[in-house]
Symmetry: C2
Subunit: 476 residues, 2 copies
């Protein structure tokens, strides 16, 4: 195993460039140029912080970002190591090199074999902790009060908000109090409430492509949605700057649907843009629980010293879509007045379910469940990538393969309509991500969106095998 390397950047604490950005840029360059090489071990956070006379928080943030962007990896009980050069992240899409399909796929008989549905959004139910959840619901219902049976606290159950605040600190590096958290019946409902009750600017920017479900809600609240193109490491802040928008909706941890991670530089630029323009950033952290390489990336909100980020979270991916439980976290500066204007609103999440989820978190079930699902989805994700390499080989690109519960395929020179139709003949449902482009024509027609969370490894293998057989029947 490699030696502990020494890191000696020139940190200028008087510079306008934040210290963590200076350190991050330095280390990234050292790795890319090979000065710090494969399998070198990084000094511990404590060591480097003491050596550079900077805070441990700063070093931790830099390390987490390096992990997030795939420059280093963590070995349990050993430390952090630099990844081999050929595995370093490259800008843009990652081409998957792989052997062509090795067996002639059989066309399955649609009448006798089950459909395999790669729809995005569903989660695995077979591993859901039904007993624990039932127990939590029953415990909630044993408390015959208005906190459970009535309208409840319009902001959300105080205990649950405290659990969420603690979860956000531990998992996402976000420091906040329960009084900043507001519950809602889904991310769309969060966006709707923000549009109704905050003075959000009339123009709202969104990554292009970006989550259609939010774009529609913004438009239906009279906001003009400004599409801002993605660059390889996140949204173009230059083009954002040139737009009239003073609010932007982004997915920094895992761009939807492309799957990129927003670079730390972009994060800093975005925060500066907001500070300079009295703007707000809506950060949707929809599936950050599911990262399979390195540790979780801290949320953009964790860097938000200027109170410019409104953080959006949900239990729909990590726990239970059926609870219809999401939340948003307002900066202190907005939270108080929001509570005031919210007085005229009833809550939209069942207090019974809120109390049940509170019990589920407080007993540690939630943490255990997320860990279990992360392992499960990681295996499925690995199986999916392998199956694609084996059966679709070098005739496709995989886009956004690092995390989450979906990825994109670019099937060279084919149209999604044709691909969907051919797949259907083999009993496989696949989808075009076109709807997530504000200008659907701009979506490469050869893109296919694959969600895989609710499919077993066996179904994933079978599904991709069938796709190979249907899309490339002559070869193999």
């Amino acid at each position: 195993m490699g030696q502990v390397i020494s890191i000696t950047p020139e940190i200028d604490k008087t510079s306008r460039v934040p210290v963590y950005q200076q350190l991050f840029t330095y280390m990234k360059k050292q790795i890319e140029s090979g000065v710090i090489s494969e399998n070198d071990r990084l000094p511990s956070i404590r060591q480097l912080a003491a050596y550079l006379l900077i805070s441990k928080n700063t070093v931790e943030m830099v390390y987490q970002q390096l992990l997030a962007e795939g420059y280093i990896h963590s070995k349990p009980r050993s430390g952090l190591f630099v990844l081999p050069v050929e595995r370093l992240p490259v800008p843009g899409h990652t081409a998957v090199a792989g052997a062509p399909p090795t067996r002639e796929a059989q066309a399955p008989d649609k009448c006798t074999e089950a459909w395999i549905d790669f729809e995005y959004g569903d989660v695995e139910l077979a591993h859901f902790p039904v007993k624990q959840w039932k127990r939590c619901l029953m415990d909630a219902l044993d408390d015959l009060t208005n906190d459970v049976y009535g309208y409840g606290d319009r902001q959300g159950h105080a205990g649950l908000r405290t659990e969420i605040a603690s979860y956000l600190y531990q998992s996402r590096g976000v420091l906040c109090g329960p009084e900043q958290i507001f519950l809602s019946a889904g991310t769309q409902q969060s966006i709707s409430l923000l549009c109704q009750l905050l003075p959000l600017s009339p123009q709202v920017a969104m990554e292009e492509p970006g989550y259609h479900g939010v774009r529609v809600v913004l438009a239906n609240h009279g906001r003009e949605v400004m599409p801002i193109p993605l660059e390889h490491d996140g949204v173009s802040v230059d083009l954002l700057q040139a737009s009239k928008a003073r609010t932007i909706y982004v997915t920094p941890s895992h761009q939807f649907p492309i799957g990129t991670v927003m670079s730390v530089q972009k994060r800093v630029q975005l925060l500066q843009w907001a500070a300079n323009n009295d703007g707000y950033i809506l950060e949707d952290d929809y599936d950050s629980e599911f990262r399979y390489q390195g540790q979780p990336i801290p949320a953009l909100k964790a860097m938000d010293t200027g109170d410019r980020v409104i953080y959006l979270g949900t239990f729909s991916k990590s726990f239970l879509p059926g609870a219809r439980l999401s939340y948003f976290l307002l900066p202190q500066s907005l939270a108080h007045s929001f509570r005031t204007v919210m007085q005229a609103y009833s809550g939209s999440v069942s207090p019974t379910l809120q109390v049940a989820v509170y019990h589920f978190m407080e007993k540690g079930y939630f943490e255990g469940h997320v860990r279990k699902m992360r392992r499960l989805y990681q295996l499925r994700h690995k199986t999916l990538i392998r199956a694609i390499q084996e059966h679709l080989g070098n005739r496709v690109d995989i886009i956004g393969q690092k995390s989450g519960i979906h990825l994109l395929l670019n099937v060279y020179n084919r149209s999604s309509a044709e691909l969907i139709e051919l797949a259907a003949r083999q009993g496989v449902k696949v989808y075009t991500p076109k709807i997530h482009w504000m200008d659907p024509e701009a979506c490469p027609d050869s893109y296919i969106l694959l969600g895989f969370a609710s499919l077993s490894e066996e179904m994933i293998r079978e599904g991709i095998l069938r796709l190979g057989a249907s899309w490339f029947p002559a070869q193999g």
Copy 2:
């Protein structure tokens, strides 16, 4: 008991005035003028329909409206009877004659006695069928499918929508299919979705006063709210006509907060206004389950042959605020396109709770629960009226005493601030309804809003006794 009277109106089927309005007007005049007198029994629906050669539906609607407006009453197994003249409805407020308080009330010690809170909105929990509800929830959770645990049908669980449609037919006279029903997480959420997804006019009229919670949501969706004054039998259709509004939100069964029932003439005029102006009527039927005199009034929607009424219902008053379960019913002409634009939206009501409520209705528990609560609230209502008569006597008016789970007091020549303060000193919380006036200055300052659903008869008596002691200490 009185004789069966004969009714011989001249019905003109060629007139522009609908047959039921002709019949209703005729009968009302006959009763008011004493031609049909106290305790006369009305002919059965079948008899009168056959005699006048009109449909049974028409007669039924007229009878229900007469019941609703308090001209007749129903005796089980005997039929419908005309009420004594002194109990006939009079326009405007109903003064309560009663003896002055007969005992000198003791000032309770706030430190040792519990507060008595007349807040509107809460419902009785002590009689909630916890066991049945738990069983329904557990049954729902035993079905480990996306219908229960996933996002579910965005329009709402099909079985539950079918149950609601059947309930609306049986209880409210509304004929509709489950495909016209859309679930939402509360009436405010219903209004929000309608504003977002329907081309509702930029100006929306509301009764003045009217439910503040809806007015705020309309305004927060960019609608200009036009307050239309109430007349003794409902909103002024003349002033509505003169306004720019092409949509109106009304509470015909039980005006909120005043408590009047919209007359059949007003209903007809309102429907004609909508038909002539390509307008829509949002009918909020929030507490129609709780009528204590006569049978339930049919909904305005039941008369809506022109597809102009959007009906809003909720389970928050009749069942469980904690389920956050409401719904709206669209005319056939709107339902299809609404489903299309709704494709981009996830549902906001937990599918788990939807399935549980489905079981609760399908097993007949809901009907039984509503019956039980109606009896319970009726007793509390009666107790409240008696206690007011006894302890507040002729120094107050009761406004809107016929139904529902709230009423208004007009305390002659006193200010609500003073009344609230004095009540608090005796450990009683009462509220001003001012917020429900778009122009709060227009709310008579002497009005107090009393909700009573969650208070036992004993607490109601004690609460009113304390109000008497605090408001009128020198007398007694």
